[in-house]
């Protein structure tokens, strides 16, 4: 688990990216940049949005913290609690279910020893059951960070887990890079 006492601040490169994004919207409408900037902030804060992180985003966009909290709590890609280093999201909606996504989720649960919504004790993995990822032709589908892995089988799930274990996978990377 990550501690939530850190004071987040973007480096100059990330700040330059944020400023480029803000300029995409009309003057005075910088609040429009809230989703892109929250994505970046979440990646920089180990995959979740602490109150401090959201306050920092509010200050960057010159808006009230409450405007950030109410948005962050609406969208399901934002995590308001600490998560593991590698977040595995398994699609469960109809088309994936028809192609065996329940078995895939159960396999991840067994291998990691956690249920959806939980994080392993070593803080390495979180598991999440998610709704349609819009890649149904290659069901079942899972997402890790900004990667999709499609046509998942038990064997493929094992291969991926072994690979992530070996490389100490982190799924929280700046999605723009």
């Amino acid at each position: 688990m990550q501690s939530n006492t850190n004071n987040i601040e973007f480096n100059s490169e990330t700040l330059a990216l944020v400023n480029r994004i803000i300029l995409r919207y009309p003057q005075g409408k910088q609040k429009s940049a809230i989703l892109p900037v929250l994505h970046i902030a979440q990646a920089e804060n180990n995959g979740w949005l602490s109150a401090e992180t959201m306050d920092y985003v509010a200050s960057l966009l010159d808006i009230q913290p409450i405007e950030v909290y109410e948005v962050a709590s609406f969208y399901s890609m934002f995590n308001l609690q600490p998560v593991g280093n590698c977040m595995i999201e398994v699609c469960q909606t109809g088309p994936c279910w028809l192609k065996g996504s329940e078995e895939i989720l159960a396999h991840f649960e067994k291998r990691l020893g956690i249920k959806p919504g939980e994080t392993t004790a070593d803080g390495k993995y979180s598991l999440k059951a998610v709704e349609c990822l819009a890649a149904c032709g290659n069901a079942p589908v899972i997402q890790v960070g900004t990667e999709y892995h499609e046509k998942i089988t038990i064997e493929k799930a094992d291969e991926l887990l072994d690979k992530w274990q070996a490389e100490n996978k982190c799924s929280h990377t700046n999605p723009y890079l």
Partner: protein, 435 residues
């Protein structure tokens, strides 16, 4: 063989790069249009083509453009709806990933017609890897003079940007998308006023689906008449169908509207028949929101006519015996699939995705999920079936946006056509299809 407007070059390596796209004739429609057409003439051409919105509603695209308020000096906005999230639909990702310049070319044409100087592509947050591909293509278009100041010396200037969502199906509804683009929760707005009058930043705005926009270059290159000559009845042109489930060849197919459903399912050119030689049981023809139909009604209408892949034929018979073309998300179920469990996954989806503004949807979707879970796990009672129908009826038509309808229709249709299967779950206290 279907007319190939959208996928004709899709297999060419490097198509996502400007060089390859341009060599294949890409951006020629922009050269032609900015030189020879006024903005209103472009709108007239799109009207005449009969192109309908490909996101699901099927509203005539040119007519939607015609509503835009050009009477004030306010900026106007053109927004691409790339929030593809309707279960069973995965066609827009295909275009964005493999042929981003075709989308950009269409964005330039639409923006020009509407008089937009800044346009946005709103793409679901899960597809950041596609956003990066599109942003690279946008940079190339700027470098080659198709975006930015004074495009091709025409005096017309346009800025185009990508904007990521963050996991909310509701943002595919155009007013929720606009709210989200303004940096707010994705709560749909009450209409009227429609976005064409009061849209993004309270300015006139048109929101169109990726596939709708990707058709524009072909229409401007070949003319409205050529486009309208493809298809059948009021279903003009081609349609991308995302085919998934129990079929031999899942994938994205471009069909000429009017293709018989039976040919689409069984021909080797398309789905290639049912997986493992099993029997066809049911199809959800237009994404999870449309009514499910049993095999006999998806292949033939109630009058015994062959069912065609078109707006009119798929809705023949109304909701009693028909369905909708919707987004073209074609989900096929074989004889082993449990209708109740499949419906439960859809209902969980709508419960999760309800924005919570309207009580019938916020509460009703939760009740539906709960009751379906009870039936599916063998703990239901016979009166639960009518209770589901009753809840669905009370959601339908009673919400600000169509998510409520989308949650209700699959429930009502599953009970209408597969009531016995619900009853069997209750009688046997388990799924009758599990061994």
């Amino acid at each position: 063989m279907a007319k190939q407007i959208l996928l004709n070059n899709i297999d060419i390596p490097g198509l996502a790069s400007y060089e390859v796209y341009r060599k294949l004739g890409g951006y020629s429609s922009v050269e032609k249009t900015l030189k020879n057409f006024t903005p209103d003439e472009v709108t007239a051409e799109v009207k005449k083509s009969g192109l309908r919105g490909r996101g699901g509603a099927g509203f005539p695209a040119g007519m939607k453009w015609g509503f835009i308020d050009k009477s004030t000096d306010n900026p106007r906005y053109f927004v691409c709806n790339f929030d593809e999230s309707e279960p069973g639909t995965f066609k827009d990702r295909h275009i964005g990933q493999l042929n981003p310049h075709q989308l950009i070319e269409g964005m330039i044409l639409g923006s020009y017609a509407l008089g937009a100087r800044t346009s946005y592509i709103y793409i679901r947050g899960e597809l950041f890897y596609v956003l990066r591909i599109i942003e690279k293509a946008i940079d190339e278009a700027y470098r080659n003079g198709f975006l930015g100041e004074n495009i091709l010396g025409s005096g017309y200037s346009l800025d185009l940007h990508c904007h990521p969502g963050a996991g909310a199906y509701i943002c595919g509804e155009e007013t929720a998308l606009i709210e989200s683009l303004e940096g707010k929760r994705g709560n749909p707005r009450i209409k009227p006023p429609f976005p064409a009058i009061v849209g993004l930043y309270n300015c006139p705005t048109v929101v169109n689906n990726v596939e709708t926009i990707a058709n524009l270059p072909w229409i401007m290159n070949n003319g409205a008449d050529a486009y309208a000559a493809i298809g059948i009845g009021n279903s003009k042109g081609t349609k991308l169908i995302s085919a998934c489930g129990h079929i031999n060849k899942p994938g994205i197919y471009e069909i000429e509207l009017g293709l018989p459903v039976e040919e689409f399912i069984y021909s080797d050119e398309y789905c290639g028949g049912i997986l493992n030689g099993k029997k066809l049981k049911a199809v959800v023809a237009g994404g999870s929101s449309v009514p499910v139909l049993p095999a006999e009604l998806i292949l033939r209408t109630a009058n015994g006519e062959p069912r065609l892949m078109s707006y009119e034929s798929l809705s023949d018979g109304g909701f009693q015996s028909g369905t909708m073309l919707g987004s073209g998300g074609f989900i096929v179920m074989d004889e082993t699939a449990c209708i109740v469990k499949n419906l439960l996954t859809f209902s969980r989806f709508y419960h999760h995705e309800s924005c919570g503004q309207c009580s019938p949807c916020r509460e009703g979707t939760g009740w539906i999920e709960k009751i379906l879970h009870r039936i599916e796990s063998g703990k239901g009672s016979m009166k639960d079936i009518d209770l589901l129908t009753d809840i669905a009826k009370h959601i339908e038509g009673n919400t600000i946006c169509p998510l409520g309808d989308a949650a209700a229709w699959p429930v009502a249709s599953a009970i209408r056509h597969f009531r016995e299967e619900f009853e069997d779950h209750i009688k046997l206290q388990r799924c009758p299809l599990s061994k």
